[in-house]
Amino acid sequence: MLPSFRYVRPRTVSEAVKALAAEGARAHAGGTDLLGCLRDGVFDAKSVVSLSGLDDLKGISPTKDGGLKIGALTTLAEVARHPGIAKGWPALAQGAAAAASPQLRNQGTLGGNLCQRPRCWYFRGDFDCARKGGEICYAVEGENTYHAIFGGSGCFIVHPSDTASPLVALRATVKVVGPKGARSLPVEKLFVLPAVDHTRETILAPGEVLTEVLLPPPLEGAKGLYRKVRSRGAWDFALGGVALALSVKDGKVASAGVVLSGVAPTPWRVPEVEKLLVGKALDAKLAAEAAELAVKGAEPMSGNDYKVPLVKGAVEEALLALA
């Protein structure tokens, strides 16, 4: 059962900002994550601020520099089937298409996908875990098959988004509007590691709304993909995955974005791998070397050491697919 709450549907972003600044206010974009969390008592809401009336935040349009602006309320389905995105920023199109189920993608938005709460079963379940303000992370001594091998401390969730890793790999930025005005930041900087604050996943302050995602223009010779490994064909989060955004010039990698998914509390960029790839021709040997490097320093828990070979395999396969 849903708890009782107040409901407002602002007409402008500034009204939304004001409503969201109130204590206990929760943003409703597609509602797919919010309603589940409220129903399961993961958190409460004094008021639900529906963003669905903000038409300015919907749709996809080209920017002057040849990039793309995607309104935060654009559905995942729209992102997935947009021919321009599939062509210029394939990792994002594939990430959006890999999320949830087709029906949820009709409701879920790109902004919501970036801001969704984690899928950790202790966080979602009837456990007073650290992320909900409790004392311990149950995954440490418990059932941690699906938990982090990188970046965990005090909490070992993995970030659930399939679009976040592609966006980081693509060096996208987001625009955030809040009580103090608007700001832009790289998607990479949107997320918070548990070492910084284990009770939240993004830097968004009360009252702040993610309004748009900006994709830089595709580089010459751009290639990309998103590879997600999961247990089931649909409605399943990544066991491990990788977003690649490469540009190839004269047979050599000119630039590289390599970001893992399903392995850490944030999209997990591997700069060492990016560095390794640049300036070299992508072949089987390099792919194997890069895959090895991608999982270097992993700290598996009792039940998830499989993620090391799995992610390694996914990275190698993904790189070879672009070779």
Binding site: L2, E143, G233
Partner: protein
């Protein structure tokens, strides 16, 4: 469940002789044809009213407060705040008058109560609320204060018998003595073997997860109770509710027309049924009580996890010399079946066999029979062991199985089967699958490896009495069939209409089935165990034959010819000697006088000195990504021996569904309990993964051996639901072994498990 498995436990019930003489059907006109469901319109249009859709005027809504702890004692309950909540009309706890109802009966003893002060698993019932709205009922649950004293718990059946294990029940953690079976001389058998394999296999706990949650609507009229229930058997619910509330059976009417799946989890009344009835009694209002999806995961049954040790020996030619099988499983916090040894003792010819089944208590939700209870687990172990044996002997796995096809049921007194299609299933399946050619062409390189596997199975229960059906022929020639069986989605109503149409020549559009209502329809056992067709169709046939006999007798009087020379032809009764002598059915005076001709059919006893069993062989093709451990099942072929196929469409649908449920066992499904708290962490459809449309192969073929079996029953059909799911998971596991050379002993075969195994084995693309 004891009812359902009586074939394992003792003689069949007393029964009346069949009411009509019925030679086996020869060529049939309606039976066996791919006829669409008679109730398909309701099911596809959305007009079918399921129990969850049901509402009555002035109805209250109820919800249950459940233990958040795996093992605890309820020290105190304070409902005072909840009682004052808006809309709350009644609250029941262990301390409420009338709520002291014993529950979970096994071996002559009750293991718990409706609300037990000692809760033995997360989800055990603690209190219940009835309120004006569902939201108010759930709000009130939150306001009930419960003080618990927490106890240590045990989750793994293998740890349940340790000397220091927490006791789930005060008498100890064993549900009865281990069940032992022996024949021949095991030691001699292994001594005579040329090859012996031995390994331990395990299956994860599965949840039935039918699409419609469990629940009931209860309404009293004085001391008469009516219940609308999502159930596989209205008469079981009637018996359990009448027993719990000490009411005469006649005062409890249970109606269960449509229902959204059960798979064995709805073969009994739930506590929710009785709680709804008690709340309705207290408030003098109808009460609707349906579980949430999470509650279904926690407390509406499961297929228990089993750990099975198998040792098999064989001669060089494949002839089995000895099988040793031991199994431990758990009925859960309260007793239910967890045995798995049957297949190991009966599927193949083997002179020396020993098996033991151990069933213990743990602090987790109670099991309920799940589609072929015990058999898919047993097949997972036995059929992987057979695969290993074939490898060790250097034999084709199909050939090894063919070398051991039994002619008699060794487990059941060496009695012959009425029909046995195991060899046909193996041969036909292998041919359709392209077993030899695909295996010969297999390559073992590259990152994506193909593999091929086979597994066989059987289901040892061919139905039986009691079952009764009444057929009414109305004055206009239309027919009403009255039967107590639930149609759980298998097509019972459709097949029954076909059976009656076969005998009476009435088009299906003129037949209406009244079913699954203890107040108005005839007794039938619950629909489960693949027994509805073999139990109820003979009764339906007998009833139709009786109607036909009476009709022909009436016509004979009018036409002044002996009844023996008359036959039904379309809507007419015609003389076989003189076609000019005919009479429309509707003009038969006996029918016109009485406005109806009634036939009563009963299910006769099963054939003496023989055993009825269904057989199956499944073949799987998989692709394994050796880099990531991903497994894709790319092809499945099911060859089934169910004797007569009553309806090709419903038959295929059953088998396809069985294959995919087996795929779930083999590939995706697993209940996960948190070792720190004993709580289930994946009590939802996202974390508990049943297969989606994207997990099933495009290539899926269903074959039927279609043996003629004139002895199994008068419909000649043996049933199909259970055998269709028994060997699938094992066939997939064997295909994975074939693809990558690694044996996954523990279900399900997930990327986590396989990626770890592949890495450990140093496999690379």
């Amino acid at each position: 469940m004891t009812d359902l498995l009586y074939w394992l436990q003792g003689p069949v019930p007393e029964t009346e002789p069949p009411t009509a003489e019925m030679p086996p059907w020869g060529e049939t006109k309606v039976v066996g044809k791919p006829v669409p469901r008679v109730d398909a319109y309701e099911r596809v249009s959305g007009s079918a009213v399921y129990p969850l859709d049901f509402a009555l005027p002035d109805m209250l809504h109820a919800a249950i407060l459940r233990s958040p702890h795996a093992h605890a004692r309820v020290k105190a309950i304070d409902t005072s705040a909840a009682e004052k909540m808006p809309g709350v009309r009644a609250i029941l706890t262990a301390f409420s008058p009338g709520a002291d109802v014993p529950w979970y009966r096994s071996r002559g003893r009750f293991y718990s109560k409706l609300f037990d002060e000692r809760v033995r698993h997360e989800g055990d019932e603690v209190a219940a609320v009835a309120a004006e709205t569902r939201a108010q009922a759930f709000d009130a649950l939150k306001a009930i204060r419960v003080e618990y004293e927490e106890f240590a718990f045990v989750l793994d059946p293998r740890e349940s018998l340790a000397p220091d294990a927490p006791l789930v029940h005060d008498g100890g953690n064993r549900y009865g003595e281990p069940a032992r079976y022996e024949r021949g001389d095991l030691a001699a058998g292994f001594a005579a073997a040329d090859a012996v394999v031995e390994a331990t296999y395990s299956t994860a706990c599965e949840i039935h997860a039918p699409m419609e949650v469990h629940g009931s609507v209860a309404k009293w009229d004085g001391n008469r109770l009516t219940i609308w229930d999502s159930t596989q058997g209205v008469f079981v619910v009637q018996q359990m509710v009448a027993g719990a509330l000490k009411l005469p059976l006649a005062n409890v009417r249970v109606i269960g027309h449509y229902m959204g799946g059960g798979f064995g989890s709805k073969l009994e009344a739930g506590k929710y049924t009785v709680i709804a009835a008690l709340l309705a009694k207290t408030t003098a209002r109808p009460v609707k009580l349906f579980l949430t999806r999470e509650e279904v995961f926690l407390n509406a049954g499961n297929r228990p996890a089993n750990t099975m040790k198998v040792k098999i020996g064989a001669k060089k030619d494949g002839a089995l010399t000895a099988i040793e099988f031991s199994s431990i499983g758990s009925g859960g916090a309260y007793p239910n079946g967890a045995d798995t040894s049957f297949l190991a003792t009966d599927l193949y010819t083997c002179p020396n066999v020993a098996a033991v089944d151990e069933n213990v208590a743990i602090n987790a939700g109670r099991a309920r029979a799940m589609r072929a209870p015990g058999f898919p687990q047993g097949a997972w172990a036995l059929e992987q062991a057979m695969d290993e044996l074939a490898l060790k002997l250097g034999m084709d796995p199909v050939a090894l199985r063919l070398a051991n096809v039994p002619k008699v049921s060794q487990r059941r007194g060496n009695l012959p089967y009425t029909s046995t299609g195991l060899a046909e299933c193996l041969r036909d399946g292998a041919k359709a699958f392209g077993w030899e050619t695909t295996r010969a062409a297999k390559k073992d390189d590259g990152p994506i490896r193909k593999g091929y596997g086979v597994a066989a199975g059987m289901w040892g229960y061919g139905g039986g009495p009691p079952a009764r059906v009444v057929v009414k022929l109305f004055a206009d020639g239309s027919v009403n069939v009255n039967a107590g069986a639930a149609d759980i989605g298998t097509g019972t109503k459709t097949v029954m209409a076909q059976t009656v149409a076969e005998e009476l020549g009435v088009p299906l559009e003129k037949i209406r089935i009244e079913h699954a209502d203890t107040g108005t329809t005839q007794y039938s056992g619950p629909s489960g165990g693949s027994k509805t067709v073999p139990s109820d169709m003979p009764a339906a046939r007998a009833a139709a034959v009786e109607v036909r006999t009476k009709l022909l007798a009436g016509a004979a009087e009018e036409l002044k010819v002996p009844a023996a020379e008359l036959k039904l032809e379309g809507a007419d009764v015609v003389s076989t000697k003189d076609p000019a002598k005919k009479l429309a059915v509707t003009e038969v005076p006996a029918l016109q006088r009485n406005q109806v001709i009634v036939g009563v059919g009963t299910r006769g006893p099963n054939v003496e000195g023989k055993v009825i069993s269904m057989f199956a062989a499944h073949f799987a093709e998989v692709e394994v990504n050796v880099r990531t451990g991903e497994v894709s099942v790319t092809k499945l072929v099911a060859a089934q021996d169910s004797a007569r196929v009553m309806n090709r469409l419903t038959f295929e649908c059953q088998v396809q569904g069985g294959l995919v449920m087996g795929l779930g066992l083999g590939r995706t499904e697993e209940r996960v309990l948190d070792r720190q708290t004993g709580k289930m962490v994946n009590a939802n459809w996202h974390d508990y993964k049943i297969p989606t449309a994207l997990d099933v192969p495009v290539a899926q073929e269903v074959l039927s051996a279609e043996l003629v079996d004139t002895e199994c029953n008068t419909a000649g059909a043996k049933g199909v639901g259970e055998p269709a799911t028994i060997p699938t998971a094992a066939a997939i596991a064997n295909a994975v072994r074939d693809a990558v050379g690694l044996r996954v002993h523990d279900s399900p075969i997930t990327p986590p498990k396989l990626a770890a195994l592949l890495a450990a084995a140093g496999k690379k693309g």
